[in-house]
Symmetry: C2
Subunit: 337 residues, 2 copies
């Protein structure tokens, strides 16, 4: 654990859990899932739905002895973005780095922390393996669809940050999504369209059951994508919103396959070239070479916010290049302009 | 009116109202107040309470021909803080200056704008005069208490800002408060204690009617102060909170008679020496000479927020010098520290 800027002990990063793997939360959850599936076997004609939510690999990383040294810290490559300078970035990112006390840890410490994160991922992976093995052992694999995803990523030292918070880098917004769907998805098939699992999966589940997806749903069934069949009107950009966590810092993002624009009303906006700068090191917001893409993404984001009823757009109306006028604040129609 | 940073027409600052004084909102409100008081005369034994709320002198300033040129712009001194550089200040202040388009206006324009603000103040002043004259004319003056105050100030170009918004300068937080209370307050008496009219007046009204002030009230009767009798436990500092307006930028302030500390979780904090720098031009937050006062105000603010249930304090716990520890995020009591 590090030290807060005020000298108090920082948040715990991780430590040794002095018990067996069987005592971990991940193992407990897998155990309960298997137990539940066993009860399903009593009525094999009845389809089942099981949602299994692991907390790991979330901070803090408490690992049993069997896992704490699973990866050799010396072998761990540090992320390029650990060279973050915060130049031309919102000030809150520096505060956030200080909050998790990036500078309390040496390069070697960070390798150790990342190795613990990897080990925590492995711990969950093993437990998911047990759940999948149960499907195999009971002849369920061929007619069970499995979806694996997460609700957010983790910085683990990327951009000198930890956990997730007031910075919209891919490290925390780009999340894993793996599907096993016998007869529908080809093994090794990779879909590179924008999917937002937490909203698209609900629509997908309805679609799987031949229930029409209500028109007020934001999400959309991904079944066509899984077949390799991309609807022509599939989303070309993805949007994300942040309201505050650790720091109050409302921000909104629009991300295409090549660029990302982030609007920070109280500080500098951000624009990243994801093709030439996948680590999002250089904020191109004031670079004239990106004027067109900035304008186009700004306009799309603004109208998306308006359309979806996100009042954040009011914070953009006067300050951003959008084809909209602020409400006229004249209190008299006799007023001279 | 100026131009927004995006090139669209800015918010209206003011203009000519092409009607008579009698057509202004201020005059209409005074008229209705006098009408109401006339009805009170029918039952002279019955005490009355009248709350009269003017909108002026709020932006935009629409003035009738009789007032638009009341003050000669050339005679208007510009506020010292119009030389604001925004150095060492939160970035949102620059954004806010751009939002109201400070730079669209010349020095002469600002003199004109301030002259219109003054004229708008005079317009309200005249209407309040009519209301007070009604008291005189009907023998009510000697047994009527009059309280005059406002819910906020206005920048009108101070610190290159307009209206009120994400910057906690005295220009908008230090508000007028005048009392006429025959037999209780001596004419010309000036009270220099901290009064927060919008919360203290309710308690004061109850006190005036000999009704005990409930213990859950934040405000406190100012009757003793008006008598020149300062309770020893009267507040030594005043607190203010801001959640967002035009820009999302939560901030909190503690102000003593000599210093002001502002906590801005997403940007640099502010500390002003109100004795040597009453215009709040120099942010002393990183000046070691102010370390003690900063520490003391930080501690007081933090505990005030905790005590009053303002969860903002969580945003200070890790980043500020407060005698408090963050919640322990250990998930296992077996964890090694």
């Amino acid at each position: 654990r590090g030290t807060f800027p005020n000298g108090q002990p920082g948040n715990i990063i991780g430590g040794v859990y002095e018990g067996p793997v069987e005592g971990t939360y991940a193992c407990f959850l897998a155990e309960r899932a298997i137990e539940k599936m066993k009860s399903f076997l009593n009525n094999p004609a009845q389809p089942f739905f099981l949602a299994l939510h692991f907390f790991a690999p979330h901070l803090p990383y408490f690992l049993p002895e069997s896992h704490i040294n699973l990866y050799n810290p010396q072998d761990i490559p540090l992320p390029k973005s650990m060279n973050e300078t915060f130049e031309n970035k919102p000030i809150v990112q520096r505060h956030y780095a200080a909050h998790w006390c990036f500078d309390c840890f040496s390069k070697e410490d960070w390798q150790k922390i990342i190795s613990m994160y990897w080990a925590d991922v492995t711990l969950v992976d093993e437990q998911i393996g047990r759940v999948l093995r149960f499907l195999d052992d009971n002849g369920l694999t061929e007619h069970t669809a499995v979806f694996f995803t997460a609700d957010h990523g983790a910085f683990v030292g990327s951009h000198k940050l930890s956990d997730k918070g007031p910075a919209m880098y891919d490290d925390i917004y780009r999340i894993p999504f793996i599907t096993r769907f016998p007869g529908l998805v080809q093994p090794q098939f990779i879909c590179s369209e924008f999917v937002s699992p937490l909203i698209d999966l609900t629509a997908t589940f309805l679609d799987l059951c031949d229930i029409p997806v209500p028109s007020h749903f934001d999400g959309r069934s991904i079944i066509p994508l899984l077949k390799g069949d991309i609807p022509t009107d599939w989303r070309k950009e993805i949007y994300a919103e942040f309201h505050g966590h650790h720091f109050p810092f409302p921000q909104r993002m629009i991300r295409s396959k090549t660029h990302k624009l982030i609007i920070n009303p109280a500080d500098i906006d951000e624009l990243y070239d994801l093709v030439n700068d996948p680590d999002e090191m250089v904020n191109q917001i004031d670079n004239d070479a990106y004027k067109r893409v900035k304008l186009s993404l700004t306009e799309k984001l603004y109208h998306h916010l308006q359309k979806t009823g996100d009042n954040f757009y009011h914070w953009m109306t006067s300050m951003h290049n959008v084809s909209a006028s602020a409400q006229n604040t004249e209190s008299s129609s006799f007023a001279k302009k």
